[in-house]
Amino acid sequence: MKRIYIFKRFERFWHWSQAALIITMLVTGFEVHGSYDLLGFKTAVTTHTTAAWSLVWLWVFAIFWHFTTGEWKQYIPTTDKVAAMFRYYLTGIFTDAPHPFKQTRLSKHNPLQKLAYLFVLAVINPLIWITGWFYLFYNDWAAWGVDFLNLEYVAFFHVVAAFMMLIFVIAHIYLGTAGHTPTAHIKAMITGWEETED
């Protein structure tokens, strides 16, 4: 067993605060959508809006951090070992077969993880942010000259993206237990230190 320092302090802060904000926005967002009655519509809306602005700020810092540290390269996708990863999750993981991917400081994410995060970055996030931004500034559409838009469709795609995010969160939390022990990854995300096989 070897311990390596994978997740730096800002990264951990970013991860967990983003997790809290996204879960908050899922809970309040589906209430605003009308799926259930939990906090009350008004509180749901204001909480959702506040969380959205908080996430905007968090992202401003995160983007800055990724570019200044070069960590953005962690999200460059690769096809190398993707099939091996699939096989691992379908069979190897049950029989304690060796993990096909070796985590290092320069390569934190396994190939499937990279693809999943790229999908979040390139598909879910743009969809959710663009629709969310127009949703938030609904009253300014005329001033922006975009009043050809229809809130019904904007809201529709915002909700579509929200469902994708919900599914991502479910899968992400589960795969967080797929380390060499169920809590290994989660601990690493808290302390920054990952235990890997030699």
């Binding site: 209430e31 009308g34 009350g40 519509f41 008004k42 229809n150 579509v160 929200a162 599914i167 589960y174």
Partner: protein
């Protein structure tokens, strides 16, 4: 001593009522009579309140020689008024309070009480002796009334401060000058109207004077409008935040700003949208000063939190009234919601008029009028409205198979000049002249043998009424279903009682029928939701199975 003794009594009585006995003991010696009078105290508080609202006028009309006489009738009073207020009658002549006519500048429809047929008492024509109890004039009994007569303007009905001046239906706009049984056959008698006292105490208009007609529209207290009834004479704050008698205490004229007797605000051509911001003194133009925006401006909710900003941004879709008048008829008086004329005329076995009352005491059937329903605390209906109201007038073709819209509020979701407005929609059935293809005009009241209220003969009543409209009655009538709407704009609740977000933003919320606008929270994409939750559930089941196998294998392994 300058202060009238009466006033001191009242002041002391108040103190006597509300303060500790030691206080009244301190005061009593100054005016010993007060202690004796204290036993008759209870009504004093109200008197005192009225006194507090005393006129600030620079003229005491009781000192005017012209008013120190025993007037025989109303026109004599007016004549006296006009000796000083030389232009007043002519000013009144140009208002719709006098003409009962209104030309809608946008639709060119000729409206006004004189012209429209509503679905309450339906039509003024042929019934003037009764209807003109609410006309600001004397003597309008038929189509020969002289609308140029200055002395026939009724000054007092709007400027009375005594509350003793009453124009009675059937007297063509006059109050009673002799002893008169009122209500008819009640065994109660009204003394002749004391015109001298009333004339000497004239003053500004008030909620009571405007309300003397406007609270009683449709034939009784609260009947027609729903947002105007006698509970607004001395309302508490919950009922109307502006008129609150112990608070802001607005008179009608505070909002319905008047100039040269022209009173602002209109139900024929309402201002549905006011995008101009607060109306500043000196602003030129012909803006309606009777809008919420004219005082509160375009961003009425003080800026601050995101929630408040959201309220301000709602004003591009929603009239202030929609949230701030959560219900009408909130003064504990029931307003009429339906009126079915088709059942009128049923008599008891002896051929006498029948009157039935509902459990709340309101008349629900009257041989003279038919069936009614009443409601209190009514949730309004909501419509897109751009300020234009189209009426179905006499002679207009209608489709009798459908509900006839006596008036129709124009506007739509896509129109930037439309807002969502609360309305009272009144429904009923009323006569329709089949041969002439028009809403019927019939003769309701009068001592003659054709008036429906007395003879219960539709054909006679119709023949008379249609003739008064200049048309020969075809001899065939049916009852058509009709609908008429009024914007709800009075009875503005305190902000705590305004609608909450989720009264509309929910499934089956208040605006569920408004259409044309996407409303978050109304759960309106069931298909997407079903698919989305199914996918999420499958993901959850998938990871649980995967995790289950991992657990099982690790235990076995």
């Amino acid at each position: 001593m300058n202060i009238p003794a009466k006033k001191i009594y009242r002041g002391l009585l108040l103190i006597g009522c509300f303060l500790a006995s030691s206080v009244s003991a301190n005061v009593a010696p100054a005016e010993p009579a007060a202690a004796a009078a204290a036993s008759t105290a209870p009504a004093v508080v109200m008197v005192e309140e009225t006194e507090a609202r005393k006129s600030t006028s620079t003229a005491d009309h009781s000192k005017f020689e012209e008013l120190k006489k025993n007037f025989k009738n109303g026109p004599e009073v007016t004549k006296a008024c006009l000796t000083c207020h030389t232009e007043a009658a002519q000013q009144v002549h140009s208002t719709k309070h006098w003409t009962w006519e209104f030309l809608n500048p946008a639709t060119k429809q000729k409206l006004g009480k004189k012209n429209i047929i509503n679905n309450f008492c339906t039509s003024v024509t042929s019934n003037q002796t009764f209807c003109s109890a609410c006309h600001v004039g004397y003597g309008w009994s038929d189509d020969k009334f002289d609308f140029t007569s200055e002395n026939n303007v009724d000054c007092v009905v709007c400027h009375d401060t005594t509350g003793k001046y009453k124009k009675l239906p059937g007297l063509s706009g006059h109050p009673n000058y002799e002893v008169m049984e009122w209500p008819p056959h009640s065994g109660k008698f009204r003394e002749p109207t004391d015109l001298k006292t009333i004339a000497q105490k004239v003053g500004k208009t008030s909620r009571a004077t405007c309300g003397a007609c406007h609270f009683y529209g449709g034939g009784g207290d609260a009947v027609k409008h729903g947002d105007l009834d006698s509970s607004l004479k001395e309302p508490q704050k919950y009922l109307d935040v502006h008129m609150d008698a112990k608070g802001l205490d607005f008179s009608c004229g505070k909002c319905h700003l008047s100039d040269s007797h022209e009173v602002s605000g209109s139900r024929y051509a309402p201002t549905a949208v006011d995008d101009n911001g607060a109306l500043m003194r000196g602003d030129k133009g012909d803006r309606n000063p009777t809008t919420c925006v004219a005082c509160h401006g375009k961003a009425p909710h003080p800026p601050g939190t995101a929630a408040v900003e959201k309220l301000n941004s709602h004003t591009d879709k929603i009239a202030c009234q929609t949230c701030h008048i959560p219900a009408y008829a909130r003064g504990n008086k029931a307003t009429k919601m339906t009126w079915d004329w088709s059942t009128a005329g049923k008599l008891d076995e002896e051929g006498h008029r029948i009157q039935k009352r509902g459990s709340d005491g309101n008349v629900i059937y009257d041989s003279k009028k038919g069936d009614f329903t009443f409601e209190r605390y009514v949730i309004p209906e909501y419509v897109w409205f751009n300020g234009e109201v189209k009426f179905t007038l006499f002679g207009d073709k209608v489709d009798t198979n459908n509900v006839v819209k006596i008036n129709e509020f124009q506007g739509s979701a896509g129109d930037p000049d439309s807002r969502i407005w609360p309305v009272k929609t009144f429904r009923g059935k009323q006569p329709y002249d089949v041969g002439n293809e028009t809403l019927g005009v019939f003769h309701t009241a009068g001592g003659d043998d054709s008036a429906f209220w007395g003879n219960y003969d539709w054909d006679k009543a119709m023949a008379w009424g249609m003739k008064a409209m200049g048309v020969e009655y075809s001899g065939e009538m049916v009852f058509v279903e009709t609908e008429m709407s009024w914007p709800i704009t009075h009875m503005v609740a305190p902000k705590e009682d305004a609608l909450k977000c989720d009264q509309c933003h929910r499934e089956n919320g208040r605006l569920q029928n408004i259409g044309g606008v996407y409303m978050p929270g109304t759960n309106n994409t069931p298909m997407l939701d079903w698919l989305g939750y199914a996918a999420a559930l499958m993901a959850l089941i998938g990871v649980l199975i995967h995790g289950g196998i991992r657990y099982y294998m690790s235990k076995r392994g």
